[in-house]
């Protein structure tokens, strides 16, 4: 985990104290390494915020950051990279190394933003899109190593489709002592209501509801749940086993008490987009006891996660029943469940990505990652193992490799001002 000491070590590599003072106030120079840069791709809606600013805290915030180079892996129709480079005065480089060295012979940026989301990449048998985030990262790390200097790196979404690769990325970051941040917007977006679990609470049961396809959307849902659960007593100590089941078995598991119908009711009570009868005639509806959720979800999936400290949590992917992301949990000693919706603000502004960009900016300007990259690492592992369970007959899988330990940041990190 990044501490004050590793921060000092990292910045010490960057230069002397005198250099730092001389640079105070000068914009940080950043390279963006992405798969594609077209309208509403992650690279565009996040990258553009460094170019044109973004709404934050009631102001149009202009980061003190200068994008100096860009690498784009694919240039499909609608590619905006050349246009942006021309307008905002930076260069698009044909390789990652050149982008990081901004055409020179040494690393010439203060931070790297890797956005390996969207673009045309193959899927594996588990349905995971094989985005080349690991490969991008490796090339960045190679430049850091060769040039004897490392800088903060943000990796959009999960680190890799493979836990093994993701683990290597995190290990490299720690070994080379550069701050790393990764992950989804969901942990940092607004919550309706503004719910944070008390630090060191004891969680008796937890349930997350998500929608959309695998593997993009289940990833977001798992990480959203993880950012809540990591605040429990003892912190995160890893995952013991996972299992993914599908179809009618999901509801049978609910009938058998393997996941809590009370928590599903609490989560769904936070939804603004129940489908079925609500779409038909606008009505509000109770969807759990009535059996409506069961009726209108064509392909439900349950992701069971058993943590090493005994906590059991469930993600229900209920595509067809709702179109938003909700969390519910029962805390020991509390009367009823707590619940909230992770607010995904409308397209095209997708202001939730401004919440995330602000965290990236914080890391770039302070040299400290505002929350541990291990959150995303464990999320990668949970997702990959769940999808392995899915293709291996939905069997329960022991996950001794998910021995990922970390503590949540004391200060809440989501948008609330």
């Amino acid at each position: 985990m990044l501490t004050r000491r590793t921060f000092i070590e990292t910045t010490a590599i960057a230069g002397t104290a005198g250099d730092l003072l001389a640079q105070a106030g000068a914009p940080k120079r950043v390279a963006i390494i992405c798969t594609i840069y077209k309208y509403l791709s992650h690279a565009q809606h996040m990258g553009d915020r460094f170019l044109v600013g973004y709404p934050f805290n009631g102001k149009w915030h202009k980061p003190n950051i200068k994008v100096v180079s860009l690498y784009v892996d694919q240039k499909p129709e609608g590619d905006l990279s050349a246009e942006r480079a021309k307008e905002f005065g930076f260069q698009v480089f044909p390789t990652i190394a050149e982008a990081l060295r901004v055409g020179g012979s040494k690393l010439a940026v203060d931070a790297v933003i890797v956005i390996g989301e969207h673009g045309d990449y193959p899927r594996n048998a588990k349905g995971q899109i094989l985005y080349p985030r690991y490969e991008f990262f490796e090339q960045c790390a190679k430049v850091f190593e060769a040039d004897g200097r490392s800088v903060p790196l943000y990796n959009d979404k999960h680190l890799s489709w493979s836990f093994e690769k993701a683990k290597k990325m995190v290990d490299t970051g720690h070994a080379m002592k550069f701050p790393m941040l990764a992950g989804s917007s969901l942990p940092v977006t607004w919550r309706l209501p503004d719910l944070e679990l008390p630090m060191n609470c004891e969680i008796a049961d937890a349930l997350m509801v998500g929608c959309g396809g695998s593997d993009p959307m289940d990833y977001h849902a798992i990480e959203a749940m993880q950012c809540m659960l990591e605040r429990r007593k003892g912190g995160e100590t890893g995952v013991k086993s996972v299992q993914l089941i599908e179809g009618e078995d999901v509801w049978k598991a609910g009938d058998d008490g393997r996941w809590s119908k009370e928590l599903l009711g609490a989560a769904l009570s936070r939804s603004d987009s129940p489908m079925g009868n609500t779409v038909k005639d606008g009505r509000t509806q109770e969807m759990v006891l009535s059996g409506e959720a069961r009726k209108i979800t064509p392909h439900p999936a349950a992701y069971f996660i058993e943590y090493r400290d005994g906590l059991k949590a469930t993600l229900l992917m209920l595509d067809g029943a709702v179109k938003d992301y909700m969390f519910a949990a029962k805390l020991r000693g509390a009367k009823g469940p707590v619940s909230t919706q992770f607010f995904l603000s409308p397209v095209p502004n997708v202001t939730y990505s401004a919440c995330l960009v602000n965290k990236i900016e914080e890391m770039i300007t302070t040299g400290i990652a505002p929350y541990p990259v291990e959150r995303t690492l464990i999320t990668c592992g949970i997702l990959e193992s769940c999808l392995t369970s899915k293709v291996e007959g939905h069997k329960r899988l022991e996950t001794p490799h998910l021995d990922v330990r970390y503590h949540a940041p004391r200060t809440s990190q989501y948008c609330r001002t």
Partner: protein
């Protein structure tokens, strides 16, 4: 929580019951329940009767009547309130006079028959010698004199009257409340929609915040409306504060991108002029000197954003009153949940959760805005809006 011993019976008095009409949003929440505090909440009361004024082909009344046979559909307001007993037989009335096919005035106001419905309700109260709480959706009436009469009647006959918009009680992003007793120097709302419709919601957005200022509400002295080129001129001249305007825009989640290929960028004045075909502003001064501006910018935003300058603070205070709005963004108009929850409490306790005077003032401001626009943007004195009241101590917006 223990069930209250008293389980009120309610009558619904509505204009039209179709998908996404206010009647559907409100009455459905009594019949079906709604998500509240993390459970599917069923109000501890029964909607026993319903009068619906218009029945277009997409009318949902028959469906709801069939699925909720305990609710009697009545042919008159009197029947809905008396249930065939000849006298008042309900403990509360839900009046939803929004949507439906009604004529417009020459000033463009839709003549929803809220006043006429209210009069018929009051007739039953009078003949029965008993009054019960009434909720009136949105502003009391398009016509100020009628609205004032409705309010005065409720005070004279001593029955609780709540009216209002969801904007005053919905989620805020961020979830902040105007501190009580502060000195507010200026307040502004940037929102969207039409005149005699969403202008009212913008005014409620402002009023639910500024009423908490030092000294409480004292009423409004004058109002001036701006539209089209007059609006742009006033904007350029700084008639309303640019810093608050920008702070409000920075709370929006629906800024129309000013340039193709960009998804979220701050618009220049030229961008705004290109995007907003018919901007409208109501600028008005409260009796204690506070200046407020309600701005409609359809084409630029599709949400309700508030900003104020508070004495002693260097930065504007700002938030968005968030409407999860179907069908584009959501399937449920869940901003009706906190509205229903507020007046639901009134039926049980007999107490308004926020003052009837807020709705009276915003009704008067809406009419004054329409009048000023109709008079070509003339500044109108509003001595009739010298309406004083104190904001409730407790916050009533959605945050749990």
């Amino acid at each position: 929580m223990a069930q209250p011993a008293f389980r009120p019976k309610l009558a619904g008095v509505c204009t039209v019951y179709r998908k996404h009409s206010h009647t559907q949003h409100i009455i459905d929440r009594f019949l079906e329940g709604y998500g509240w505090n993390g459970v599917h909440h069923k109000p501890a009361m029964d909607l026993v009767s319903l009068y619906v004024d218009q029945h277009p082909p997409e009318d949902l009344t028959p469906d709801r009547a069939a699925r909720f046979p305990a609710m009697k559909v009545c042919n008159s307001i009197q029947d809905a309130l008396t249930l065939g007993t000849g006298k008042l037989a309900v403990d509360g009335v839900v009046l939803v006079g929004e949507h439906g096919d009604y004529p417009k005035t020459e000033k463009g106001q839709v003549q929803y028959p809220r006043y006429q419905f209210f009069q018929q309700i009051v007739d039953v109260f009078k003949s029965s010698g008993k009054s019960v709480p009434v909720f009136n959706d949105k502003h009391l009436s398009w016509k100020w004199e009628w609205a004032k009469e409705m309010y005065d009647t409720s005070r004279a006959m001593r029955f609780p009257l709540m009216s209002g918009s969801s904007l005053a009680v919905t989620w805020r992003i961020p979830s902040v409340e105007m501190p009580s007793g502060v000195k507010i120097q200026e307040a502004l709302c940037v929102c969207y929609g039409g005149v005699d419709s969403y202008d009212y919601h913008g005014l409620e957005t402002l009023q639910c915040m500024v009423e908490r200022r030092k000294g409480g509400e004292s009423g409004v002295k004058w109002l001036q409306a701006y539209r089209g080129e007059q609006f742009w001129q006033a904007h350029r001249d700084g008639v309303w504060p640019k810093d608050l305007f920008e702070a409000a825009l920075c709370r929006s989640h629906t800024l129309t991108p000013a340039r193709p290929g960009f998804n979220d960028m701050f618009p220049s004045l030229d961008d705004m002029k290109r995007l907003v075909k018919n901007p409208v502003a109501y600028r008005y001064q409260h009796t204690d000197g506070l200046m407020c501006t309600m701005i409609l910018m359809s084409g630029l935003v599709e949400d309700f954003n508030f900003a104020a300058r508070i004495e002693g603070r260097s930065e504007p205070f700002s938030t968005q009153m968030y409407l999860p709005m179907p069908p584009g963004r959501t399937t449920l108009a869940n901003f009706f949940s906190p509205l229903v929850n507020n007046f639901e409490q009134m039926y049980v306790t007999g107490k308004e959760t926020y003052p009837a005077e807020r709705g009276l003032l915003t009704t008067g401001l809406t009419a004054a805005g329409v009048d000023s626009l109709f008079a070509g943007g003339r500044k109108l004195d509003t001595p009739h809006l010298k309406i004083a009241y104190q904001a409730p101590k407790e916050s009533t917006f959605w945050r749990s």
